[in-house]
C-alpha cells in the first residue's frame, strides 16, 4: 500500500507540471485551451522518438517542451490573427496534432524498453530506484514553479495576467493583447509538453492516446488545489495545483485498487470535475438555504 501511494505521489507531481500549464491558460489567461490533449501527447511522442534515436534523455525532454511551445503558438495564432474563437482554435490544433504525433512516432505506440531514460540512467548510477521518479519530479516541478513565479512577476508576465483579467483595460495601457495571449498559450503548452515528455520516459512508452483527457485531469488538479488552498498567494496557489494533481492521482490509485477498471477512469474523472465545478454553486445554494431557514421561510 505504501508503495502504491508513493508511486501515485510521484506520478501526481509529474502530471502536476501539465496541470501548471493548464493553470496558465485556464486561470491566468482565462482561455479554455483544449490544445493540451494534443500537446501532452506531442511531448510524449517527441521524447520517446528522440531517446530511441539516441538523443540524451534530458535534451529529448527539452525538445519535447519546444514542441509544446510551437503547439501553443499555433492555437494563439489561430485565435488572435485569424480571429477563430479560442475553444475552436485549440480544438483545431489538437486534432491536427493527432496526425502530427502519429507521423512523429510512426506507430500509435513506442516502447522504451531497455532504452536509457532520465529515470533509468539515474537509477543506474546508484540512486535508490523506488525514489528516482519522485526526486526527479520534485526537481522539475520546483524549477517550473520558480520559473512561473518569476515570470508572472515581470512586466510581461503582469501584462499576461491583466490580459486574462481585463483585455480592454490592458490594451488601453498600450499592451498588444494578441502578443500576450500567444505568449500565455506558448508558455502553458510548453509546460504541458514537458510533462508529457517526462511521463513518456517514466512509464517507458509513448502513446498516441496518452494525452486524451489531459485537460480534464489538469482542471481536476487545479480545482482540488483551489479547494485545499483557498485565498492564498501566487506561490501557494501554484503549489496547490501540484498538491491537487497528487491528490487526484492518489484517489485514482485507490479507486483502481478497489477494483474499478483503468478504462473507467475517464468517466470517473469527468464526474469528479463536474462535481468540483458545481461546488461554488452548491455553496451558494447551501448559503441561501440556511439564510432562508434562519429567517423562517423554509
Amino acid at each position: 500500500m505504501f508503495w502504491i501511494i508513493q508511486s501515485a505521489i510521484s506520478q501526481g507531481i509529474l502530471w502536476g507540471i501539465m496541470a501548471l500549464g493548464v493553470y496558465i491558460t485556464f486561470r491566468v489567461l482565462n482561455f479554455a485551451d483544449l490544445t493540451v490533449d494534443g500537446s501532452f501527447a506531442l511531448g510524449g511522442a517527441l521524447s520517446a522518438v528522440l531517446i530511441r534515436s539516441g538523443v540524451h534523455p534530458l535534451l529529448a525532454v527539452l525538445i519535447a517542451m519546444i514542441g509544446g511551445l510551437a503547439a501553443g503558438f499555433c492555437t494563439g495564432f489561430l485565435n488572435t490573427k485569424l480571429r477563430i474563437p479560442g475553444l475552436l482554435a485549440s480544438i483545431l490544433t489538437q486534432i491536427a496534432l493527432y496526425s502530427i504525433n502519429l507521423r512523429i512516432m510512426g506507430s500509435p505506440n513506442l516502447s522504451l524498453l531497455r532504452i536509457d531514460t532520465l529515470f533509468t540512467s539515474l537509477a543506474d548510477i546508484g540512486f535508490p530506484e523506488r525514489w528516482v521518479t519522485m526526486a526527479l519530479a520534485l526537481v522539475f516541478t520546483a524549477a517550473v514553479i520558480a520559473l512561473m513565479y518569476w515570470f508572472f512577476g515581470t512586466e510581461i508576465g503582469s501584462a499576461i495576467r491583466a490580459t486574462g483579467n481585463n483585455p480592454m483595460m490592458i490594451r488601453a495601457l498600450g499592451v498588444h493583447t494578441d502578443t500576450t495571449t500567444i505568449l500565455g498559450l506558448v508558455f502553458g503548452n510548453g509546460l504541458v509538453a514537458l510533462s508529457g515528455g517526462l511521463i513518456a520516459q517514466q512509464q517507458g512508452y509513448g502513446d498516441i492516446g496518452m494525452g486524451t483527457g489531459a485537460i480534464v485531469i489538469g482542471l481536476a488538479a487545479i480545482i482540488i488545489g483551489e479547494v485545499l488552498f483557498p485565498q492564498t498567494n501566487f506561490m501557494l496557489r501554484l503549489t496547490g495545483v501540484i498538491v491537487g494533481a497528487v491528490v487526484y492521482r492518489i484517489v485514482i490509485a485507490l479507486v483502481l485498487k478497489m477494483g474499478l477498471r483503468s478504462t473507467d477512469m475517464k468517466l470517473f474523472t469527468a464526474i469528479l470535475v463536474a462535481l468540483a465545478l458545481y461546488l461554488p454553486t452548491l455553496r451558494g445554494h447551501a448559503r441561501q438555504f440556511s439564510l432562508r431557514r434562519r429567517n423562517g421561510h423554509a
Partner: protein
C-alpha cells in the same frame, strides 16, 4: 495638440442596420483645453472618443495628436498618448489584481514591457502618496484586489492610473454616469484636481448639463453626428441650463431627446 479633420463613421454600411454616426467632424483642441462634450442619445459622442483612442477606426478623415497622424494606428500603439476612463467602473481596472499592480501596469503605459519586475518597492511608496491625495483610504490597502473596491473607488483609481504617466490627452467617457450622485460628485472633484495638477488636455463626455457647464474651459454639443455648438471662455462661464436648452433647440431644430440629460 489634437486635430480631428473631416472624420466620418458609419456602422454596418450597406445593411438594413446602416447607421451613420459621424458626419465629417472637425475638432481642434489646444494644449491645456478641458472640453466637456454633451449631446443626445446617438449623437456620436462615444464614437468620437473611440475614434481618438483607436477602439474604432474612421471611414475617412484624419486624427492627429501632436501633429502625428495616428488615424490608422492600432489602439495599443496610441496608448502612449492617451489616458482613458470608461463609463463602466469594471472596465478600467483589472479586478483580480492588486491596487498596486494596477497602478504599476498603468505606470508602464505605452512603454516596452520586458523581463524586469512588474512592480518595484520604490513605486509602492510613490503610489501610497498618490493614493493619500485621493483621500479614499486606499493608501493602506495597496495589495487589496481591486474587485473588492466600490464603484467610486474603482473610478478614482482608474483616474489615477490614467494620469499616472501624464497623457497628452485625457479621455473621459461618462465616467461618473454609473455612480450614485454623491460618489459621482466626489469622483468629479478628483478629476478636476488631477487635471489641474498636471494641466492635462481633456475631453470629457457627460450627460449632465450642469456638469458640462461647470467643468472645463470649453464645451461642445453634438447632435446626429455633428458638432452643433462650441462655446468657450466667458460665454461658457455665463451659460445656464436654460440657455443651453434654447441654444440646442435653435441649432438642431428639435427638442432634446436625452431623458437622462433632462432629468439630471
Amino acid at each position: 495638440m489634437l486635430d480631428i479633420k473631416g472624420v466620418s463613421k458609419t456602422f454596418y454600411p450597406g445593411t438594413p442596420n446602416e447607421n451613420p454616426v459621424l458626419h465629417s467632424v472637425d475638432l481642434h483642441l489646444n494644449d491645456g483645453d478641458f472640453v466637456t462634450v454633451i449631446g443626445g442619445n446617438g449623437a456620436g459622442k462615444s464614437t468620437l472618443l473611440n475614434i481618438i483612442s483607436g477602439a474604432v477606426l474612421p471611414d475617412n478623415g484624419q486624427v492627429l495628436i501632436d501633429s502625428d497622424d495616428v488615424t490608422w494606428l492600432p489602439e495599443y500603439r496610441r496608448a502612449r498618448y492617451l489616458g482613458r476612463v470608461f463609463q463602466d467602473p469594471m472596465q478600467g481596472t483589472a479586478g483580480d489584481m492588486g491596487i498596486d499592480e494596477n497602478l504599476a501596469l498603468a505606470a508602464r503605459r505605452g512603454q516596452r514591457r520586458g523581463l524586469s519586475w512588474g512592480i518595484v518597492r520604490t513605486e509602492r511608496d510613490q503610489y501610497k502618496t498618490l493614493l493619500q491625495d485621493l483621500n479614499l483610504g486606499l493608501e493602506g490597502r495597496l495589495s487589496t484586489k481591486v474587485k473588492l473596491l466600490s464603484g467610486g473607488q474603482r473610478q478614482a483609481l482608474t483616474l489615477l492610473m490614467a494620469t499616472l504617466k501624464q497623457p497628452r490627452i485625457l479621455l473621459l467617457d461618462e465616467h461618473t454616469a454609473a455612480l450614485d450622485p454623491k460618489t459621482g460628485a466626489r469622483v468629479l472633484d478628483v478629476t478636476q484636481a488631477l487635471i489641474e495638477k498636471y494641466r492635462l488636455t481633456t475631453l470629457m463626455i457627460t450627460h449632465n448639463m450642469r456638469e458640462a457647464i461647470r467643468y472645463g474651459n470649453r464645451m461642445i454639443m453634438m447632435h446626429e453626428g455633428r458638432i452643433i455648438l462650441d462655446i468657450e471662455g466667458d460665454d461658457k462661464q455665463k451659460l445656464t441650463v436654460e440657455d443651453l436648452l434654447h441654444q440646442f433647440e435653435r441649432v438642431s431644430g428639435t427638442e432634446l431627446d436625452n431623458d437622462r440629460m433632462l432629468l439630471s
